[in-house]
Amino acid sequence: MSKTLKTIAIAAAGVAVLSAPSFAADKVRLVNSTKVVFETEHPYTGLEEGIFKKHNLDVSVIHGSGGAASLQAVITGSQDVVWGNGVLGVVSAYAKGAPVRILGSNIRGVQDLYWYVKPESPIKSFKDLNGKQMAYSRPGSTTDLAARFIAEAQNIKPKFVSVGGPSGSRTQLMSGQVDSGWSVYPLNKNLLREGKIRIIGTGKEASGLNGVTIRVIAANVNWLNKNRDVAKRLMTAFKESVDMTYSNTKRLETYAKRWKLNFEDVKDAAKDTPQSIATILPIAGLDKINEIALANKKIKKLLTAAQLKELVHPMGNKP
């Protein structure tokens, strides 16, 4: 090989090595707002079934613990996208100038929530909670909202009691401190299967919230503006991931294994949380959410139509 050819070969190899990063998958830092709950499974489907990879995305997933902390991670820019954050939190943060935008719906309505009692309890349905304690997690949370909408729909006046998360709720119900507990499918379904608790109703009875987007996929707007194409591919990958989670039984087995759940308790996940309410579009009922946010003092005045429009970037597209 002549000296010239050798030089060209070395130069070509160098160019190839240097240009390699340009072919690397786009990195996305995703925070899953909570864990175990069925809707949080879809990003894992994308990760483990190669859907993100197919869209040239390198997605890393961490967990939040509900509440404002997950969204805070996106606002500060330490994470790019949050999956399944409460819409009220996003609206509230946006109204205060936080750099956050909604890309899609995670779930509409609250039918994955359920309320339960001990088997020997005289309470048979929500109607019997009139004057009794009705549990919810924390003031201003989705469960708080759902409980109040259920009470309104059932025309009852229960005593609302903040009991914390599903495990705290279970402990307080089982030790007789509250009349009812709350949970979210499939948590505590083992107690249901073993006959230790009895369901008195689900979030479906919060009729005022049916069809309204309750949890969302949201992104840091600075990241979004710089990575519009990545965001669009990410949302397409999410859509495919949701479809696969619902159509592939193997995904349910993986889900059960990941969180050490009994398969018996997750096999009906698609019925408990039907895909019709978990599709990424439409992002529905934001006007209603705007009013609820004001009523719950999450915002000081209603967002204008222009602000609501600016807030939503469906599937990563500009409003």
């Binding site: 509440g67 205060k96 100038g97 201003g140 949370s141 914390g164 705290g168 401190q177 999450k298």
Partner: protein
């Protein structure tokens, strides 16, 4: 207040003011995100709305009262137990390590257990606040009494003072600084635990306000509630300083 005492107070307040001005500028220039850390002026201005919406003053006294009750209980347990560990050396040697280990345990994580035992009420807050408070008080009481100078004790004996006077006039004044170090550490841990549990279970007091304001992204109000927690802490720090001075005037 003497000049010697006035100067540090003025220097301290000046330092605080300087930090506040720097933070104000940092937020104004966009070096710090307003949604993460508010301007100190916004924090101050949010006090009236926080009072109107969340009864800040009422909740201040709830947390203050819970901390006072838990600290009183911690003193009732910690002081005699520390004295017992001093008097019975074998028990002291045997248990001090255990107490130190228990002190470093994050007892706050046991809140579901306490909720079951005591229910979702103030008793849970008081008991969970008292435990991390009593431990340093007991340890420091023992250490304080062990640290009394042999010379002082010998002087007492040479004057033939009674056991009671020996304790009251020699041992206690000598041990007071160490015991009060334990009390100060104890009251701070008591306050931290009470506010943390208020935050976690959304029950009464300033911790609940911090939790709700944070969830609403009402950042100035969140910081205003935190400032109120600092005021509770300052109150106890100042209060126990006065008691210490009263017990040991020199």
């Amino acid at each position: 207040m003497t000049r010697l005492h006035k100067v540090p107070v003025i220097v301290g307040l000046f330092g605080l003011l300087a930090c506040a001005v720097l933070l104000e500028l940092a937020v104004n220039f966009g070096w710090v995100m307003e949604i993460i850390v508010p301007r100190p002026t916004d924090t101050v201005l949010s006090f009236p709305s926080l009072q109107e919406d969340m009864d800040l003053v009422g909740n201040f006294f709830v947390t203050l009262g819970m901390t006072a009750a838990a600290t009183a209980l911690a003193l009732l347990i910690g002081l005699p137990f520390g004295y017992f560990l001093y008097r019975r050396e074998a028990y002291g040697v045997a248990y001090e390590g255990w107490l130190a280990a228990a002190f470093s345990t994050p007892i706050v994580l046991l809140y579901p257990l306490f909720l079951v035992i005591f229910g979702r009420n103030h008793m849970t807050l008081i008991v969970m606040g008292c435990i991390p408070g009593a431990i340093p008080i007991a340890i420091q009481t023992r250490q304080g009494l062990l640290g009394v100078s042999k010379t002082l004790l010998n002087v007492g004996r040479s004057f033939n003072v009674s056991e009671r006077d020996m304790f009251r006039k020699i041992m206690l004044p000598s041990a007071v600084p160490t015991i009060f170090t334990g009390i100060r550490i104890g009251v701070m841990y008591t306050l931290v635990n009470i506010v943390a549990i208020e935050y976690l279970i959304d029950f009464g007091g300033l911790g609940r306000i911090v939790s709700q304001m944070y969830d609403n992204f009402s950042i100035p109000e969140t910081y205003a509630a935190i400032v109120a927690v600092i005021l509770v802490s300052t109150f106890f720090y100042w209060g126990f300083g006065r008691v210490e001075k009263w017990l040991r005037p020199v």
